[in-house]
């Protein structure tokens, strides 16, 4: 919202997070000349920039989504100098290729972390703590009510649910956003229970990742050629926007589940009126958020999306120099997903 001082190495402008000496923007939400992108989710990676820089493993999905863009990639840990400012990308653990961007100029170090989580999910490169003076953090789940179970426990619940549905002759229908969450769920599914069918938006990303050499369990894209009799006892993996769509109505009998951090709240589960809500998030929970910030040893913290004002107040009480910044990042949503609209309509 306010600019602490115009000499800040990274500044919050109407176009995005700006580094004046390099004239580079991080995850900008308006078209700019030079953009560095933390990861491919739609609120961080947008159309219209003249040049893009992203991590090597994030590159393919970004390119797939944004099409013919001018994209350079960089390996984690590799350094690049722009006008005397040194940039490097470090794993954020959020989704495959997601990065924190470290910015160093005249001995001052800033880190813009995009979205991140500490638990190593086996798919995204594990989060790496980066020491800095100023840390820019999300706070999507920045309240003490959010406390994640280890993913093994969640996957066990998901597989139990699937097994039970299979025994009752039902289709297990589960949603998670198509880039990242879907593949993470996929990786945790027990393929011995049945077949895994995928929505087109999910399968497109699966294909991108398989081409990158990421091993994923076998999946079958849902198409009109498949008889609706084939689905019962098997599982369908789809993005949140497919929930209650005409597309979904073709699977029956059905049991519907959502995998999201928001499923912590009974109110959110009831609002979506699904049978099961599995608490699985690609963002940090409360304890890991605090752990991550402590590990940076930063004295100044800028809070972007999420419970910004509440979490800022908490950090101020801890004695940190904290402030909230207004951005157009949106965090995890159970109502909409990150899928571009042209990928949403997959007809049977």
């Amino acid at each position: 919202m306010k600019h602490k001082s115009s000499t800040d190495l990274l500044q919050f402008t109407p176009k995005g997070i700006w580094c004046p000496p390099a004239d580079v923007y991080i995850d900008p939400w308006r078209p700019v000349k030079k953009a560095m992108i933390t990861h491919g989710h739609a609120d961080h990676s947008r159309y219209g920039h003249r040049s893009y820089l992203a991590s090597t493993t994030a590159g393919p999905a970004i390119k797939y989504r944004l099409g013919d863009i001018n994209l350079q990639t960089i390996n984690f840990g590799e350094k690049i100098n722009v006008n005397g400012v040194q940039f490097s990308f470090h794993p954020a653990g959020h989704i495959l290729g997601s990065a924190q961007i470290r910015v160093e100029h005249k001995g001052e170090v800033w880190v813009a972390s995009g979205d991140y989580k500490l638990e190593d999910d086996g798919l995204a490169e594990a989060f790496e703590p980066v020491k800095c003076h100023t840390f820019i953090t999300e706070s999507t789940f920045g309240l003490p009510v959010y406390d994640w179970q280890p993913q093994e426990a969640v996957f066990a619940d998901i597989n139990d649910w699937w097994r039970k549905n299979a025994a009752e002759g039902k289709v297990s229908f589960i949603t998670g956003y198509s880039l990242g969450k879907a593949q993470r769920i996929l990786q945790g599914l027990d393929s011995s229970i049945g077949k895994i069918y995928t929505h087109g938006a999910v399968e497109n990303i699966n294909e991108v990742m398989r081409l990158q050499g990421i091993p994923l369990p076998d999946t079958i894209r849902v198409t009109g050629d498949i008889s609706s009799k084939d689905y019962p006892t098997n599982l369908v993996l789809a993005p949140p926007s497919a929930l209650n769509s005409a597309w979904m109505k073709k699977f029956k009998p059905i049991s519907i589940a959502i995998a999201s951090g928001w499923m912590t709240l009974r109110g959110a589960r009831r609002r979506k009126a699904v049978e099961r809500g599995f608490v699985l998030s690609d963002h940090v929970d409360w304890k890991d958020l605090n752990k991550a910030i402590e590990a940076t040893e930063a004295s100044r913290v800028i809070v972007t999306h999420g419970y910004t004002s509440i979490y800022t107040k908490y950090l101020l009480e801890l004695g940190l120099d904290a402030e909230a910044a207004q951005t157009e990042f949106t965090g995890e949503s159970i109502d909409e997903d990150d899928t571009p609209s042209d990928e949403k309509d997959t007809t049977l």
Partner: protein, 529 residues
């Protein structure tokens, strides 16, 4: 407790009625009589007396979680439920307790006269031995407000199934003044004569809203039409010389209405009248507002009795000389009701007038006149209908008038909580007064989740200022606000207060210049206030 917590989890995990009933039956099969009785009590909104202040529970939970109290309160605001918030912030259990539902209730009851320090010790120890679902249920037992996504009706259906009894008979057994302290499961559910409780009311028969034209109901000669009065539906019972007044919410409200007390001597023993508790003065009803203020007061003072006196607008006769009349046709019950009211004249007993008509068109005219009578519309009842229990389709219909509406501009937005945490769902609306937008009401329902999503994204981008959880937004969005009534109010800057305001639709087709004015509201106040 594990059984009950598991029941709760299962009820929460399904939206299917059949599965809910099955889960309840399963619980009844496994539980002992004491746990059954308590489960029935809780699911019919009879919780144990509160023995621990919730303000203390918040402090203890914050302390255990290692977070400042204000942060706990912020979390509570987002979650929207105290029992859930506490269950979520507490650190993982260190041991596992093995006490039953009724054991825990006994523990909670034993805390009543204890020192706070001991209460804390007991509650903290309880928390430390429970996983999330048990903690949630335990907290709910203390704080009340147990909404488990299962209606009383489903619980009764399951119990009827489990006991092999009729649902109606179970519903009747569960009415009235009982608590698990003054009865047993055997006595309440299995005793031969459930009517030994003289205060016991009958389950109310509720009407469905008529969505189509009344002509679809067929021959007008088969129907009785009355006004739908805007008070509190109630049952007045006189048995063994005692008077009991029940509200539709199954609350015993005898003390709140001294006007009725002489009925104990006036009406013959074994009389039950279904009617509307209606504020009424000088030959006409007063607005619901008047009754609402009266109910809110702790004591019924002389002044209240003068300014907001009530009558009973009698609709139906359910019991006469101790005989249950509910299976008789309405036509007969009405005749007997007229007789009772005539033979026992009292200024608080008024007969709900039957509107004479031969063509359905005439009823439409009467409905259009509703506001002049301070009524909410019409009731349409089949002449041969019996008095059923609960909301049943087919015989009784309510045909309400269309709400009043006004187009207004959204100027503030606030995040909802619970079901709608993280969405901006609570808005403040304004109308024009010259060049100025004057706020006149808040509203938070009436839109779809999809619309709330869209508006939430819009609010984030169009915030002008933040005041804590409230954001002032650019005046740009226009909504049609519907409401049931309008009253003068000195507490509001606009000078008016609306009854049941809600958003009827988002007028994306309208510019803010096209919104209504304060003068429009004032003229509505003159017409309907």
């Amino acid at each position: 407790m594990k059984n009950f917590a598991e029941l709760f989890t299962q009820l929460d995990q399904t939206t299917k009625t059949l599965k809910k009933v099955a889960a309840l039956v399963d619980f009844f099969e496994r539980a002992n009589d004491e746990d059954r009785l308590w489960a029935i009590a809780i699911l019919s909104h009879r919780r144990p007396k509160r023995t621990v202040k919730t303000s203390l529970m918040r402090v203890w939970a914050a302390e255990l979680a290692g977070v400042p109290l204000w942060l706990f309160e912020e979390s509570y605001h987002v979650v929207g439920d105290l029992a859930e918030t506490i269950a979520l912030v507490l650190p993982p259990p260190t041991t596992r307790h093995d006490a039953s539902l009724s054991d825990w209730i006994a523990v909670i009851k034993s805390l009543e006269k204890q020192e706070d320090a001991l209460k804390k010790e007991v509650v903290v120890k309880a928390w430390e031995g429970m996983a999330y679902p048990e903690r949630f249920v335990f907290n709910k037992l203390i704080t009340g407000g147990f909404r488990v996504g299962v209606s009383q009706k489903l619980m009764m259906r399951a119990l009827a199934q489990f006991e092999g009894q009729e649902e109606n008979s179970i519903a009747h057994r569960l009415m009235g003044n009982w608590t698990p302290d003054n009865t047993t499961y055997e006595e309440l559910i299995r005793s031969e004569n459930p009517l030994d409780d003289v205060s016991r009311p009958y389950p109310f028969y509720l009407a469905y809203a008529l969505e189509s034209e009344p002509a679809t109901l067929g021959d007008p000669a088969n129907w009785q039409v009355e006004r739908k009065w805007d008070g509190i539906r109630g049952q007045v019972i006189v048995r063994e010389g005692n008077l009991f007044v029940w509200s539709r919410g199954e609350e015993l409200v005898t003390d709140k209405f001294p006007e009725y007390h002489h009925l104990a001597d006036l009406l013959p023993d074994g009389t039950v009248i279904d009617g509307e508790i209606l504020p009424y003065k000088a030959g006409q009803p007063l607005t619901f507002n008047v009754l609402q203020t009266r109910i809110g007061r702790k004591n019924v003072t002389k002044k209240i009795l003068e300014s907001a006196p009530v009558v009973l607008m009698c609709y139906d006769l359910l019991e006469l000389e101790g005989e249950d009349l509910r299976t008789r046709p309405l036509q007969q019950r009405r005749k007997l009701l007229e007789k009772v009211v005539k033979e026992n004249p009292s200024e608080v007993l008024l007969l709900s007038e039957v509107i004479q008509f031969s063509e359905w068109e005439q009823t439409a005219e009467e409905r259009a006149n509703s506001r002049q009578h301070l009524s909410e519309g019409l009731m349409i009842k089949k002449l041969d209908s019996s008095y059923r229990s609960g909301r049943k389709k087919g015989d009784w219909w309510k045909w309400k008038i269309d709400p009043l509406t006004i187009d207004a501009v959204m100027i503030y937005a606030q995040q909802g909580h619970g079901r709608r945490a993280n969405l901006y769902t609570d808005y403040t609306f304004a109308v024009w007064n010259d060049e100025e937008l004057v706020p006149f009401t808040k509203a938070y329902s009436g839109l779809t989740d999809k619309e709330f999503n869209k508006i939430t994204a819009w609010v984030r981008k169009n915030t002008k200022e933040r005041f804590g959880p409230v954001r002032s937004v650019k005046p740009e969005l226009v909504f049609e606000i519907a409401f049931e009534g309008i009253n003068a109010s000195s507490r509001h800057k606009s000078g008016v207060a609306l009854r049941f305001p809600r958003m009827l639709r988002w007028r994306t087709d309208k510019k803010i210049e096209e919104a209504n004015t304060l003068a429009d509201l004032k003229s509505m106040l003159e017409l309907y206030g």
